[in-house]
């Protein structure tokens, strides 16, 4: 059970795909014009990520090393197709809002990154929860970004007007430059919080060291790696 919670914390906080690993920036910047779009994109990715992690982990002994990337893509693409058909059937408005970014989940580097660096080398249960953790981290990040952009750029939250009528929306925040501003600001806040915690002598091992690289593929003794995290098992192929 320890492994499960460790994976969840790892995905949501320590190696948050958006704010720490800076992966999957294309959907992060493109679809977060509103909170609901960010949440929708995040949850869609979570579903695909979790299921593909599970299947890849189950098939990790079967998939030959040399053709692993095409094999991953086939698995991921199957799930993306299923999810898209479901969205078209039950949430057509979200589907049209997210547009081309749903099919593009196939090449989302969080999903390929987790398949390559975690699921391919680890048993199904931890891989499943790794997918959930990473997916939730991504969803939380996207929803936060979407909320801030919607609030400043349109004066609304989840489509409901929250700012007073006299508030003039700062349009730039729902346009492309605003995405960069908000992502940069939130990443900076995250780093400050981590530094403050480290300064107070709290257990920062849970929160990474802010070096930006992935702890799983790092041999440095920075102390942020858990004792039960065996590098040999976790990291054979490495991220190439």
């Amino acid at each position: 059970m320890n492994k499960v919670s460790e994976r969840l914390v790892n995905g949501i906080v320590k190696e948050n795909p958006t704010f720490v690993l800076a992966l999957g920036m294309c959907p992060t910047l493109a679809v977060t014009t509103s909170a609901i779009n960010g949440l929708g994109m995040g949850l869609t990715t979570t579903v695909v990520l979790t299921l593909s992690n599970l299947i890849i982990s189950l098939l990790r002994k079967v998939i030959p090393n040399r053709v692993r990337i095409p094999a991953f893509i086939v698995i991921v693409a199957s799930f993306v197709t299923m999810v898209q058909l479901l969205l078209q059937a039950y949430l057509p408005s979200l589907n049209s809002a997210l547009g081309v970014y749903i099919p593009l989940i196939v090449v989302n580097c969080i999903i390929l990154g987790r398949a390559e660096s975690y699921a391919y080398h680890n048993p199904p249960i931890p891989s499943f929860f790794d997918g959930i953790g990473m997916g939730l981290g991504f969803s939380i990040a996207l929803t936060l970004i979407g909320m801030l952009r919607e609030l400043l750029g349109a004066g609304e939250l989840f489509g409901a007007r929250v700012m007073p009528a006299s508030f003039v929306p700062i349009n730039i925040f729902i346009m492309a430059p605003g995405a960069f501003f908000v992502v940069a600001a939130l990443t900076a806040v995250m780093n400050v919080v981590k530094e403050k915690m480290a300064a107070k002598g709290k257990d920062v091992s849970k929160f990474g060291n802010g070096c930006g690289s992935e702890c799983a593929s790092c041999d440095l003794a920075c102390g942020s790696r858990k004792a039960d995290f065996v590098p040999a098992e976790a990291e054979k192929g490495g991220r190439e």
Binding site: V168, I170, N171, I172, F173, M175, P177, F181
Partner: protein, 318 residues
């Protein structure tokens, strides 16, 4: 005991009296005619906009320096210049909180977050203005005041109307606070040129290449009135003399300055004549700013005593 005490110090032994703050002070003095004309033209509210912009720019820089525990840099007056330039680029009807927000953005995001004066890759005042143009398109193009109602001369021309060039040169038109009077801007520019603060290369190549572009592609043939109106209208003069020449964001090589000016002229022409809007100086200059490192790289002059390398692998030739 007539032993002489020698002070041994490392070079440089001759120091110039020119400092950042003395240059910025000269720029402020040079901007006074344009500011004064703006105040006379648009009335008391223009003063409020100018004061809010300068005040929030200075306050932002000062508070930022305190928060990040850096040496206080307000005294170099660059924040005052940025605030004033931004104010001169705003319409007089702009809500004051928008002016303050633009000013804070210019100083905080465009200048300080990239390392402060000397490290910013883009002219802060223009960055702030473009932020506001994108954010508040309606308020930024509302040029109706008590003194003048209706569109700016360039917008009138865009829609096929005719304008009075003499009024544009004196400045009795609608527009942003500081851009209307060509005479006032040129007086300020002369102060800067005489004091050696700016070099004529950038403004001259900018204005000339823009004039050529308008003559070639303006669709009016060789029409002096049309050309004069384009040269006197909008932010061209203010931009060419005060913003394109910003030390930090313009090339330092002589050849680079000319290339930079020509690029700005062509971009401004494209934006004004083929673009949907009637103005293009701000966007042309900030796009030009982004190309400055590249321009400097390809225009490094040959030092005295060296000959130009024939090939890339020519090596050092004495």
């Amino acid at each position: 005991m007539s032993e002489q005490v020698y002070h041994v110090s490392s070079n440089p032994h001759i120091r110039s009296k020119v400092t950042t703050s003395s240059i910025m002070l000269l720029v402020l003095i040079a901007l006074l005619p344009a500011t004064g004309f703006g105040l006379w033209n648009f009335g008391f509210r223009a003063l409020a906009v100018v004061l809010v912009c300068i005040g929030s720019a200075v306050a932002t820089e000062s508070i930022f320096c305190i928060i990040v525990k850096k040496k206080q840099t307000v005294k170099d007056l660059s924040a005052v210049v940025t605030g004033l330039l931004l104010a001169l680029n705003l319409p007089v009807t702009i809500p004051l909180w928008m002016a303050a927000l633009g000013s804070i953005f210019a100083i905080l995001v465009v200048k300080l977050l990239f390392g402060g004066l000397g490290q910013n890759f883009m002219n802060p005042a223009l960055g702030g203005r473009c932020f506001m143009l994108i954010s508040f398109p309606t308020a930024m193009t509302a040029f109706s005041t008590d003194a003048y109602t209706g569109a700016t001369p360039l917008a009138v021309m865009k829609n096929g109307g005719s304008v009075n060039v003499m009024d544009m040169i004196i400045g009795r038109t609608s527009g942003t606070i500081g851009e209307t009077s060509v005479i006032a801007i040129v007086i300020g520019a002369c102060i800067l040129l005489i004091c050696g603060v700016i070099d004529l290369k950038i403004p001259a190549s900018y204005i000339l290449s823009f004039a050529c572009f308008v003559l070639l592609f303006g669709g009016h043939g060789f029409d002096p009135a049309f050309l004069a109106a384009h040269l006197a209208g909008g932010g061209l003069m203010l931009g060419a003399f005060f913003m394109a020449t910003d030390y930090v964001t313009s090339p330092i090589t002589p050849m680079g300055k000319i290339v930079f000016g020509i690029f700005l002229g062509i971009m401004t022409g494209i934006f004004r004549i083929f673009g949907p809007g009637s103005e293009g100086v701000s966007y042309a200059i900030i796009i030009g700013n982004l190309l400055v490192p590249l321009i400097e790289k390809v225009t490094v002059p040959t030092p005295f005593g060296f000959t130009k390398k024939k090939t890339a692998k020519g090596g050092k030739q004495a």
